[in-house]
């Protein structure tokens, strides 16, 4: 069975505050004078999956996101093949 590789990019929804991102942005601004306007810290999950077809693999990845990896109340996600 072929192996498919995916990256899942998980980010907080735009209306949800992100204190970690804010702290990192402040350090970049204040310590290094880098004019970062906005910074959001999300998660990225890289995974390999066995499946007959790419469509089947994608279906499994979406299921993983819905069941565990993503909290849809506060987060959004995007799946990319790598």
């Amino acid at each position: 069975m072929p192996i498919y590789r995916f990256m899942i990019d998980i980010q907080y929804k735009s209306h949800v505050r992100d204190p970690r991102g804010e702290t990192i942005k402040r350090v970049l601004n204040e310590e290094y004078n880098i004019p970062v306007k906005n910074l959001r810290l999300g998660k990225s999950v890289h995974l390999e999956i066995d499946a007959e077809t790419k469509e089947e693999a994608l279906k499994q990845v979406e299921k993983a996101c819905e069941k565990l990896l993503v909290n849809t109340v506060t987060e959004t996600f995007e799946v990319k093949e790598i």
Binding site: R17, P19, R20, L68, L69, V73, T74
Partner: protein, 229 residues
Amino acid sequence: MNIPIPKAQVVFYPGSNCDRDALWALKYVGFDAEFIDIYQDINADLLVLPGGFSYGDYLRVGAVAAREPIAYKIKDFVNSGGLVIGICNGFQILVEMGLLSGALLQNSCGHFICKIVELEVVDNTTPFTMYFQKGEIIKLPIAHGFGRFVKVNSTLPVLKYTEDVNGSEDLIAGITNRAKNILGLMPHPERAVEKLLGSNDGLRVFLSVFNYIKTKKLSFVQEKEGAKV
């Protein structure tokens, strides 16, 4: 008349650390209380999910614990009317399980907060808050890094902070479900059962639920004995 003693169980997950405080508080008010682990069956009137850092809070707080096999047993227990209190990490687990609505994220200040806070009881019609007045201000300790509550439309608040401590929406500190048989809260009532600890307001949470169960058992026994006559 022989009324059975209300029974409580405290679920300890790998990484729970407030389990013994919870057990102590339950026994203190008169519960027949014991620990269960994630493989055991639920056999109680009240289930307590204690605070701590279950599974190191990997991925998201409470996310892994909420998907252990015991989660299905907890859901069945709730659907059959069983009473559940989730404290701190226990609250986060209940939210991740979908038994309570909303989400809990990192405090808006970005760090762990450990102090005694003032709370307003906004709903005293739950089995857990019957011993409080509506609008009463009580004191309970908080100790969390991820207590910022994000509400959804169906959220039913029970406790609110009197001022902004962690960025929670509408100052929400504790909530219930529609059937009102679950209480999820970030403050620790089990750490406030004696005046010596700075407050004993938490005691009334356990007394409320203890007497709620006892009254129910009493009317059940009376009904049965009445039927015999």
